[in-house]
Symmetry: C2
Subunit: 307 residues, 2 copies
Amino acid sequence: MASNGTNGTNGASHRFDPNFTQAVIDNMGPKTTPRNRQVLGALIRHLHDFTREVELTIDEWMAAVHFVNAVGRIYSESKQTRNEAHRICDILGLESLVDEIAHKVIAEGEIDPTSSSILGPFWSPNAPFRELGGSIMQDGVPPNGQVTKMHGVIRDITTGKPIPNAVFDIWQASANGKYDFQDPENQTPNNLRGKFRADENGRYWFYCLHPTAYSLPKDGPSWDLLTLMDRHPMRPAHIHIMVTHPEFQGCTTQLYPNTDPWLTTDTVFAVKPDLVVDFKPLKGDDKATLELEYNVNLAPKGYKGKL
Amino acid sequence: MASNGTNGTNGASHRFDPNFTQAVIDNMGPKTTPRNRQVLGALIRHLHDFTREVELTIDEWMAAVHFVNAVGRIYSESKQTRNEAHRICDILGLESLVDEIAHKVIAEGEIDPTSSSILGPFWSPNAPFRELGGSIMQDGVPPNGQVTKMHGVIRDITTGKPIPNAVFDIWQASANGKYDFQDPENQTPNNLRGKFRADENGRYWFYCLHPTAYSLPKDGPSWDLLTLMDRHPMRPAHIHIMVTHPEFQGCTTQLYPNTDPWLTTDTVFAVKPDLVVDFKPLKGDDKATLELEYNVNLAPKGYKGKL
């Protein structure tokens, strides 16, 4: 009896059974939902194509199995506080890609909506509202902190008009590169977090820190993967923002100082051109030495733009 | 400023940034080994192509992140005895594909080597050598067990001659569908396992059970995935064998009764035509009611065959 498979008479560029992958896909039953059939079918096809293309060895496959188990093990052993599966996706560019797919809007008019960027694991639903002109430095200015007055206008891309009462939610790491969650010895909950409601002219303003670049953890599966790829673990300095209004499509994104050395090699690939900003020296304000003006453009709900 | 990305001027069949994936791949540093660059580069490309092709949503991606964490959590919480990452690979056909890639040999002569099949998680390095003609039913015949006299000849595909002293290692689940590891209340270690050394004519013979179909676990991430795909969890009945000799390429495979109802929908896709066998009624042997003749064909070490 002939051994399994043929030499690929269907023109496939490999020497393996040309019917195998379709047989696996076709094993899905009739009650599979159309979307699950599409997503899982494509997943199986790409997984098999990848495996044949590189002729993945048994040892390499077993290493991948151990890797996946290790990812979940850290999640379990950290009591669900360290989400390495999320971080691995970020390192492979997957979260940024999913974010692009979800939020891609090409404006029909002259004003593009502000680009989205990844949420990351450090947003909190519990950030307090603060007064316009207030400070998110709840615990004071940390050593090496550079206080920045941040301000701008939130506008409607279809009219260019300001959006009164839009909510501007900001969160950032402290000057030591750590968020409040990660740094309970030095920071109280909600330090360097806050929500601000724009005034009747769509304006917001408050005090925050010039952000600080930081490293992903240098242990665990994500660090192992970075090491295999000879990559650094650095994220460029950034400020997270989430701008919302009931009548507009919200924008979750990150802003990056244009002087940061990691902009072009961000380890999670979340930098986009319109998110790179210019911090300028500020005179005449005894609370801050830097100024950042950033205007945010939102599309109305239901706006599709050009596809 | 224009939003990130273009509409795909390079002919890509999607509307997303055409440079993103290559930028992620190109972030690998100069010390990445050539093989890692090849494997991880292809992995990133296929992962991104899959994601764009199905326009994976943020909720679907987050479900996948939770799924990966759950896979590893079971491994951790079961104290490394339940390897769901391995099982997920099996359900997606990946272990069978990797096995095909590793062992694909097309013979130059008339005799093909016996097809390989997946090792699975139940092989043990500790199975004892037993005498030719002995039994692997160390704990006796279980309820509903059908005793089979299994025998055959191990041959060299290049000469057709027998291979004296080849080692025939067999393991199988009991009539309740469980291996010794899984069933300590009913089975002693190494029950239904044994190694036999072929005689001077390459012959082996011993007593075992007609195998029993069994289900993968009906809980945990692998069961969740099967449910999404509306698939059954059944493996066809099978006997595992691993045939080795120092001068030959070993063969690890599985044999399936031709009467089994799950042959064409094996949930791990490990059935190949030359591994489907005929159990025949046996007369005149008071130890067994069935007979299975199976001859194994091995290629010499270094034999490449036709590629």
